[in-house]
Every structure is written in structure tokens, then in C-alpha cells.
């Protein structure tokens, strides 16, 4: 199918949605605006600077359809997926729709509210109106516009002022198609009140080999002096496409961290943007990706230092094998007003094969004069001296490679505060190593 035909098909799907599941008032208008935007922008092409190295023709030329209901999907099938178990509540979404029967929501801590977006749109839209589409702007982002146009379900996490949530909230998005290429567009909104603390983990998982597109948008509002740690674990199917957009607005003296761990998916584009809107804010954007075969993993980050005395730390690491490729673009903006900014960015890639490649671009736009900004990028191979050292200690070449790859990647996991998340990710990582030892 051509791109034009595919886009026309979304127009029909959109009209259908507006007819069958309309949203009242300004939310309906938001959808209209968003679709109009998508229609105007079209899917991005490589002529756009931020898509220069990421060819999404396979996405643009596929006619993805709205997912079907999967009433037949059983709890046993869910359990069999062996997803990370984090100990806290689990909200499960199947093909974009909240699946109460798969979820474990007992023991939600006092004061914390986690609801499906569908329910909130029906019963309590005023909660989300001030935030939806305000943090994740879509005027220049076709995928975000598309997600917003089809706004329907997802997760809404509200942490009232002063509430400290101990255990991570796990949001699990499963795509399980029934044949036709499916378009899932989960939406997450996290509203953390002043001085609250919360950890949110999103796992995006595909159960089958069929091609689908998971176009996810997450908006996070971090109140003054609040702490929000966000994790995205990408475990999409091997023919799956993922485009994720995480946008956070960070208040005064608050702390926001994001970890994006990409473990599978054919084409994965992760965007993460943070605006430090209050003085004394702190933000950490970390990412780890493992790529092999012909996978393409693209991480785009933006940290906007809008106010003075904010710190940001950024570390992205990737391991590439086979003919995989990766793109990292790290943009740091320091506004005129943002004196005493301290921004550090580092990007490291480990290439295990000669055919793998990585493109790195730091992009600093600094308008204030009293700031510290550092960035560095390294691309390297496994160190032969280290390999020999390990082999001289009786480890096989394969083992030695795995030990070194693990050390490289686990360094990033070391920054993860939640023990359960760190351990689960480490065991997934160890499982994947045999596929990545770069033969």
C-alpha cells in the first residue's frame, strides 16, 4: 500500500471512531485538532532532520487497522509471557484496552488513584482535560497527533500532594493481533502532586510474530518538590514497530527520571522530552538498548532547561550486533533565563559486528552564559585485552564476551533505584546475552 492510501485509511478509521465513540466537548475537539494535524503533517520522511537516519517507510506504507477485542485472551496466556514481576499493582491493557481480568489492583496504597483512561473520559473528564495534549504537544509530531486523534483508553495515575508510593506501579501493554496488522495507541497520564513520590513502570510487550504498530504517548506532570521515576521496558514482537513519546513537565525543586530499556522490536523509536519548568529541578534520562539482526533503534531526547539551577544527567548505552543500527540524538536547550544549569550527556555504543552501525548527534542550544554543559559519545568494540584476560582465567571466548557485554550494559541498570526493576531487567539481559555475543 502507498503512504497516501494508508493515510486515507486512517481518515476513515478516524471518522468511524468519532461516530461510534465520540468524546464530549473539548476532548472531542482535541481529537479533531489532532487528526487535522496528522493529516497535515503526514508520516515523517527522511527529509526531516530528526528522521534522517530512521526510515519508517515500512510503517507509513502499511495499512494498520484498529485492534479487535481479544475476549479470548486468557489469564494463563498472560502468565505464560513471563513478564517482569515487580511486586506492586499491575494494570494490564490488551490491544490498547484496559483488561481488568488480567490486572492485579488490590492493595493500591491510600490516596493513590490509578484508573483506565476510558473510565476517566466517561466519568471524570475534568481530571485529565488540563493535561491531555498539553504536555505532549502534537503540532509537529505526526505520531503523537495520531495517538491523540484516537484517544480512547490507557492509564491515568494520580498521586495527590504529599503521598509517597512505595511500590512501583506496573502498566503492562500487550499487543496480540489476530492477523491484520494492528495499530495500538496506548496513552498514559501521570499526575504527581507537590511533594509526592511515585515510580511508574511501563512494559510494552508483543506476543506474536505478526507486524503491528504500537504508538504510545505518555505525559507526566511532576509537581513541585515531587519525585517521579519512570521506566519504559520495550519487549515488542520481532516484527513489531514501536514509536513512543514520553513527555514530562517538571516543577520546582522536583526530580524526574526516565529509563528506557529497549530489548526487542523491528523498528523502535523512543522519544523522551523533559521541560524543567521550575528552579532547582533535576532530571535523569537514561536508556539502554540491545539490537541484533536488522533491528533499528532510535532514541531521541530533549531536555529543556527553562529555569535556573536545574541539573540534568543523561546516559544512553547500546549494544549492537548483526546488521542492526541505532540512532541517538540528544538535544539540550538552555534558555536565556536558565543560569547555573548543569547538564551532562553521555552516549556509548558497543558494536559487536562490523555491519552494525550507530549514528550519534548531540545538539546543544545554549542561550545562558553561566552554565556547565558536557557531552561525550563513544563507539567501541569489546576490548581484546580484557577478552584475553578473561580467557586466560579459563572462561570460554563466548563466556568472556558475554561477561564484558553484560558489564557494559549492567552499568546502566546500576542507576535504577527500584531493586525489583533492576533485578528483573538484569535477568532479562542475561537471558538475551547468548543472542548478542557477536559471532
Amino acid at each position: 500500500m502507498t503512504q497516501i492510501a494508508a493515510e486515507a485509511s486512517y481518515a476513515n478509521q478516524f471518522a468511524d471512531l468519532q461516530k461510534k465513540a465520540p468524546l464530549p466537548g473539548c476532548l472531542g475537539a482535541l481529537r479533531d485538532d489532532a487528526f487535522e494535524c496528522f493529516d497535515r503533517l503526514g508520516f515523517p520522511t527522511r527529509r526531516l532532520e530528526s528522521w534522517r537516519f530512521t526510515n519508517i517507510a515500512p510503517i507509513a506504507e502499511t495499512n494498520f487497522v484498529q485492534p479487535t477485542d481479544r475476549q479470548d485472551y486468557t489469564r494463563n496466556a498472560f502468565n505464560a509471557m513471563g513478564l517482569p514481576k515487580l511486586g506492586g499493582v499491575e494494570f494490564v491493557f490488551l490491544n490498547g484496552t484496559y483488561a481488568p481480568s488480567l490486572s492485579t489492583i488490590d492493595g493500591l496504597p491510600d490516596g493513590l488513584r490509578v484508573r483506565s483512561l476510558g473510565e476517566v473520559l466517561d466519568n471524570d473528564p475534568d481530571t485529565v482535560i488540563p493535561h491531555l495534549g498539553r504536555i505532549a504537544r502534537f503540532e509537529h509530531q505526526a505520531f503523537t497527533a495520531l495517538n491523540t486523534a484516537f484517544l480512547r483508553d490507557g492509564a491515568v495515575v494520580e498521586v495527590p500532594e504529599g503521598i509517597v508510593v512505595g511500590e512501583p506501579i506496573h502498566l503492562i501493554f500487550i499487543t496480540s493481533s489476530t492477523g491484520l496488522p494492528t495499530l495500538c495507541q496506548p496513552r498514559v497520564l501521570v499526575i504527581a502532586g507537590a511533594t509526592s513520590q511515585v515510580q511508574v513502570v511501563e512494559s510494552h510487550v508483543g506476543t506474536d510474530v505478526a507486524s503491528y504498530l504500537n504508538n504510545a504517548v505518555t505525559e507526566v506532570s511532576v509537581g513541585d518538590q515531587a519525585t517521579v521515576d519512570h521506566y519504559t521496558i520495550v519487549l515488542e514482537g520481532e516484527s513489531a514497530f514501536r514509536v513512543g513519546n514520553l513527555q514530562a513537565s517538571v516543577g520546582r525543586a522536583s526530580n524526574f527520571s526516565s529509563h528506557t530499556i529497549t530489548l526487542s522490536g523491528a523498528i523502535v523509536r523512543n522519544e523522551a522530552s523533559v521541560v524543567l519548568e521550575g528552579e532547582g529541578g533535576e532530571c535523569t534520562l537514561n536508556g539502554l538498548y540491545l539490537a541484533s539482526g536488522r533491528q533499528l533503534v532510535d532514541n531521541q531526547t530533549t531536555i529543556d532547561h527553562a529555569r535556573p539551577h536545574c541539573d540534568s544527567h543523561e546516559l544512553y548505552k547500546g549494544v549492537l550486533d548483526g546488521q542492526s543500527s541505532a540512532v541517538f540524538n540528544g538535544k539540550i536547550v538552555v534558555r536565556l533565563d536558565a543560569q547555573k544549569t548543569d547538564a551532562k550527556q553521555s552516549n556509548k555504543a558497543l558494536l559487536l559486528s562490523e555491519d552494525a552501525q550507530v549514528t550519534t548527534k548531540p545538539q546543544l542550544e545554549i542561550f545562558a552564559d553561566d552554565v556547565k554543559c558536557t557531552h561525550g559519545a563513544t563507539v567501541g568494540q569489546l576490548d581484546p585485552d580484557s577478552l584475553f584476560y578473561l580467557r586466560s582465567r579459563a572462561l570460554s571466548e563466548q563466556q568472556a564476551r558475554q561477561v564484558l557485554i553484560h558489564a557494559f550494559a549492567a552499568d546502566l541498570l546500576g542507576h535504577i533505584k527500584v531493586g525489583a526493576v533492576r533485578q528483573q531487567l538484569d535477568s532479562i539481559l542475561l537471558d538475551r546475552l547468548p543472542m548478542l555475543s557477536g559471532s
Binding site: D383, P384, D385, S386, F388, Y389, L390, R391, S392, R393, A394, L395, S396, E397, Q399, A400, V403, L404, H406, A407, F408, A410, D411
Partner: protein, 253 residues
């Protein structure tokens, strides 16, 4: 145990080892001395299977096997251990993790049951005592941030855990302070037995006061130009290398 015959090796276009002959029997301690750049570390590297050297002639028999035919890890499992002149720092790899993996590889190869974490820690702690090392080293990344002397001591600690049949110590004494030198030498001596052979590469007679060798060899210009008993080390200390043939490497380069 080890029988090196006319071993020749090059790196790039440069011939470094030019016909080494050396026989080491179980229970013996051999010292190899010689000027900088004479090929001592190259010999150690070729024995351990380091990449980058090309063996251009000769044979090495290790416990009845053609050593040069084996991968580095097979040599280690067969009982060869090299204490590196410059131990590599490996950030992110835990010292205890590496050593447990190494010991279990060796044990598997010998047909012995693998050790679980607890049994391994018991062995490791006991060996740390032998080398008067703090347990904290076990949980640090391999050599990462270790001082020069600590790295050397860590090599001998690994040796003590792995219990190889042939240990080659490449300038383990350099970088050690006087107390550490005694501790390391005591550790090595504790590992001496009638089945195990040790080859120490050193520049200093001092180490040989503690680890007393059965034989001393002088490696110069890629050849062993003189062999003798422990008195040879004293003589070298006194006279240097210039009285020995052939002329040092500088003249040959």
C-alpha cells in the same frame, strides 16, 4: 611438565623470540631475568596464548599436549596460569564473580563438582587471608581502581584460588612495597609443592631471596643466553647483563 624447544615468535614484522629452549619439571621454581625488551613477557604471552604473536618455529609441550594448539581458556583449564605484568582493569565485572566462574570452569574440566556461592566464598576468604587482603576486594570490579601493588597481589590471589600446575609470574614483584613483597612471596611459597612448577620473571634479586629458585635463566635478545643456579641471580645483581652474549637488543634492532 613444560618443554619448550627452539621456540620462535614474532609480532608484526619483528622477530622477538629467536629459539628458546627451556624445560620445567614438576616441583621446580625457575627464574627468568633479562634486560628490558628482551622478550620475557612475549614468552609468557605466547605460552598463555595471547593474540598478536605469531609462532614462527619450535614446539611447546605442556603435560604431554601441544600447548600451542590450545585456545587460551583450554591452556588455563589444563593448569597454566599467567600472572600478568600489567593486569587489565575490567570495570563492571565483579572480582568474586570472575573468580568463581574461573574456578568452576577449571573444576568442571577436571571433573570436579562446581562450587556454589557459599563454598566458593569460603575458599576465597581463606585465600585472601593467605595474601592478607581485605575481603572488600572480592566485591570490587576486577582491578578497577586498584593500586599497582593491589593489582599484583590480586593476581597471586587468583593463582591461590585456581591452584594451577604451572604458574608464570610476570614481574609480580614490580610495584610491590617491601611488606607486600614478603606477603606475596609467602603466598607463593605456600603454593609450592612437588606437583606444581613456578616460573618467575623478575628484574630483581630481592624477590629471589624470598622465592628461592632452583634455576635462574637469562633471556636476552630473544634467547636464553645463560642458565645457572640461584647464585646466577646474585652475579647478575653485581655485574648486570653486559658481560653476557649475545649483545643486548638495542644493538640488534
Amino acid at each position: 611438565m613444560l618443554n619448550i624447544r627452539d621456540l620462535q615468535a614474532s609480532a608484526g614484522s619483528r622477530q622477538i623470540l629467536k629459539g628458546i629452549n627451556l624445560t620445567v619439571n614438576p616441583g621446580e621454581v625457575h627464574a627468568i631475568m633479562g634486560p628490558n625488551g628482551s622478550g620475557k613477557s612475549t614468552l609468557a604471552g605466547v605460552l598463555a596464548g595471547r593474540d598478536g604473536f605469531k609462532v614462527t618455529g619450535g614446539t611447546v609441550d605442556f603435560r604431554g599436549q601441544d600447548l600451542l594448539d590450545l585456545e587460551p581458556e583450554q591452556r588455563a583449564r589444563e593448569g597454566l596460569f599467567l600472572a600478568f605484568q600489567y593486569p587489565v582493569e575490567i570495570p563492571g565485572v565483579n572480582n568474586a564473580y570472575l573468580l568463581k566462574a574461573a574456578l568452576n570452569e577449571v573444576r568442571k574440566y577436571r571433573g570436579e563438582p562446581e562450587l556454589d556461592a557459599m563454598d566458593f566464598m569460603a575458599v576465597a576468604r581463606e585465600r585472601m587471608k593467605l595474601l592478607e587482603m581485605d575481603d572488600a576486594f572480592l566485591n570490587r570490579p576486577v582491578n578497577d581502581g586498584f593500586s599497582g601493588g593491589e593489582k599484583k597481589r590480586n593476581e597471586i590471589f587468583q593463582l591461590a584460588v585456581l591452584e594451577p600446575s604451572l604458574a608464570v609470574l610476570d614481574e609480580t614483584d614490580s610495584g610491590l612495597d617491601i611488606d607486600a613483597l614478603k606477603i606475596v612471596a609467602t603466598g607463593v611459597n605456600a603454593l609450592r609443592n612437588s606437583d606444581r612448577a613456578i616460573v618467575v620473571v623478575t628484574h630483581y634479586q630481592r624477590l629471589l631471596n624470598y622465592i628461592v629458585p632452583d634455576f635462574v635463566h637469562v633471556l636476552s635478545g630473544g634467547r636464553i643466553v645463560k642458565s645457572g643456579g640461584k647464585e646466577l641471580a646474585l652475579e647478575l645483581e653485581d655485574k648486570g647483563y653486559s658481560w653476557l652474549e649475545p649483545t643486548p637488543v638495542a644493538a640488534e634492532a
